[in-house]
């Protein structure tokens, strides 16, 4: 059973279409991330789910219930805002208790549930602190506790880690992931950060220009992206443009001007012989190979445990190659190859 179902949901502002009619199912207890650049419609979709924005068309179902016309306050969803939106005139305890007081929960139960929620986000002992006395990371956790304590049917998060520094962001990502695994709860998470999406999500919906381009597990999106846009958005990628020489539906070969052999790989859907397409060769799959394509190393970038090499092939084509530090080849000249099984031939996303 799907916990949340977007059925043909779309949103227009006058002549501008923020969200094309979209179908999307979120399974019960699933952590689904809406990933896309700004303006791709991901926050629009989230706000429609929360009830802050009425859709222009389509229906929204939560469980079996049609909530399209239900006001936000009757949807029982927990929202974590990008700016946290904590009430500055209340302390931590009162912020977390707010949704319970609204629901007329008895005082003793409020005390118990707030304490429990603060324990879950590891903020015991902070109950009487003023909001402005908290760090960004602590405020983020109060916001999470406030959303969780009402036992929401759906947890919604709008780039909640955007304001945190990189180190803290990584920690909180893992923390949110662990909390989710300990107590799975249907979650819609919005971000433009691919790493965040990959770390936390059961599935990721990649969005672009108001449409969902592809939905799948992080692994599936990384290995078999639907098109060049998804490939570029998740991870590092070499995209080599060419013409489809042949395809049998599952595999395809791509002719690239100046390369001696066609590039073989798995075929994405929507490919036709003779059409323009790109070959996705992930940098970590490019490896030194005796007797392979001759290339010249023109740049070395040290990224800690990884070294990124910029290679130029004979025809002027550039490829990035990533090797573990210490295993990167010395010298300038190199012969390279890759495993055809890891290559995808994709339609070129215009």
């Amino acid at each position: 059973m799907s916990a949340v179902r977007f059925a043909g949901i779309g949103k227009s502002f006058g002549a501008f279409t923020a969200l094309h009619p979209t179908d999307l199912d979120v399974a019960d207890g699933e952590f689904l991330t809406l990933l896309g650049p700004s303006g791709s419609g991901k926050t629009t979709l989230l706000n429609i789910c929360a009830g802050y924005l009425p859709p222009s068309r389509g229906r929204l179902l939560v469980g079996e219930r049609d909530v399209t016309a239900t006001p936000a306050r009757r949807r029982n969803m927990g929202m974590v805002f990008q700016s946290y939106a904590l009430f500055p005139h209340m302390d931590v305890h009162e912020n977390v208790a707010y949704g319970l007081r609204v629901r007329r929960v008895p005082a003793s139960e409020i005390a118990r549930r707030v304490a429990e929620a603060l324990r879950v986000v590891r903020l015991e002992g902070f109950a009487r602190r003023a909001i402005r006395a908290l760090s960004g990371g602590q405020q983020q956790r109060v916001a999470l506790a406030r959303a969780l304590v009402i036992e929401p049917d759906v947890l919604l998060m709008d780039e909640p880690l955007g304001a945190l520094d990189r180190q803290l962001r990584k920690e909180v990502q893992l923390e949110i992931r662990r909390m989710h695994l300990a107590r799975p709860r249907t979650t819609l998470y919005v971000t433009h950060d691919q790493e965040e999406a990959l770390v936390m999500s059961d599935r990721v919906a990649v969005m672009r220009a108001g449409s969902v381009v592809q939905v799948g597990t992080g692994r599936a999106l990384y290995d078999r992206p639907a098109d060049a846009f998804v490939a570029r958005f998740l991870g590092e990628s070499n995209l080599v443009a060419g013409t489809v020489a042949a395809t049998d539906g599952t595999t395809a070969t791509l002719t690239v001007p100046g390369l001696p052999h066609a590039i073989a790989g798995s075929a994405a859907s929507g490919l036709a012989a003779g059409a323009r397409a790109v070959a996705l060769i992930r940098p970590e799959t490019v490896r030194p190979e005796a007797g392979g394509l001759p290339a010249r190393i023109v740049e070395r970038v040290h990224l800690g445990e990884i070294v990124a090499l910029r290679l130029v092939l004979g025809n002027g084509l550039e490829l990035w190659c990533r090797r573990l530090a210490g295993t990167d080849p010395a010298g300038e000249g190199i012969e390279i190859g890759w495993d055809p099984a890891s290559v995808s031939i994709l339609p070129d996303a215009a």
Partner: protein, 280 residues
């Protein structure tokens, strides 16, 4: 060039001309007034003793304070919804509503007060409307009494309440209101628990503005009020222009000043000039 100069001299230097002007035209006369208030031939403190003990004068003080409190309460109650409408209105409407607030400020208080005299007189349009509408049987006494004073002062002072409240309202992050709604709160609860408390600095600032201006207000009470509603500023005017008792006038002015400063000291905790200075 100018920036450099300003940077070197600092804000203190930029304030100097204004401070100098205030010292000459405000502080010096004030000191002279203080001196004057203790210059009664019958004894230095006599004017103060007379003012604070005579029941008639005490009634004037009480009436002044009461008018100030009433005007403050009414302007805040009228001003809050208006400020809220201003903060919520789409841009085009906001411009029109702002004009409604600001235009009166640019018109002389005297002109506005005379206009109210025309509107409120026994056979004026307000009374004719009330009678024609069957709301009252006979024209109401709206002029030369406290009702007239309240109507006129509320009108003149309303912008001073609206603007700080508006400034406080637009500073409230709209995400807070959505957070409250998302947590299940009704619009009324969101207003009472989130928007109202967060806009209180604006209410306090606006209320203090209006209260302080009311305490010393002269033209409107003088023209719209009657003998039954004399305020402190009218009393001072009488001392100076009719009875020519300068020490008494000076002493009354000092009492008004002391009351104002005392109120400011009390209100300083709640009033936030920053709420006005930091309008985004």
């Amino acid at each position: 060039m100018l920036d450099r100069l300003a940077g070197r001299l600092g804000p203190a230097a930029l304030l100097l001309p204004a401070v100098a002007l205030l010292a000459v035209v405000f502080v010096l006369p004030l000191l002279r007034l203080l001196e004057l208030s203790f210059s009664d031939p019958a004894g230095a403190a006599t004017p103060y003793v007379e003012l604070l003990h005579d029941p008639i004068y005490r009634k004037v003080f009480a009436a002044t304070a009461w008018v100030a409190v009433a005007v403050t309460a009414i302007t805040v109650l009228l001003g809050y919804p208006f400020a809220l409408a201003l903060a919520r209105a789409p841009l085009r409407w906001r411009v029109i509503l702002f004009a409604c607030v600001l235009t009166p400020l640019w018109i002389s208080v005297l002109v506005r007060t005379f206009s109210w005299m025309l509107l409120l007189e026994t056979n004026g349009p307000v009374n004719r409307l009330l009678v024609a509408g069957g709301i009252v049987e006979r024209p109401l006494a709206l002029l030369f009494n406290q009702t007239g004073v309240l109507i006129g002062m509320v009108h003149v002072l309303l912008p001073y309440a609206v603007l700080p409240i508006y400034a406080a309202l637009v500073r409230v992050d709209p995400a807070l209101l959505r957070a409250s709604e998302g947590l299940g709160a009704s619009p009324a609860r969101t207003f009472l628990r989130v928007l109202l408390p967060l806009s209180m600095p604006g209410v306090a600032t606006g209320g203090a503005f209006v209260f302080l201006l009311s305490l010393g207000f002269f033209i409107t009470p003088a023209l719209l009020g009657g003998a039954s509603s004399i305020t402190l500023s009218m009393l001072i005017d009488g001392f100076v222009n009719e009875r020519l008792v300068w020490p008494l006038a000076a002493a009354a002015s000092m009492i008004l000043l002391a009351a104002t400063l005392a109120f400011l000291a009390m209100a300083a905790r709640f009033v936030a000039p920053a709420a006005v200075a930091e309008v985004r």
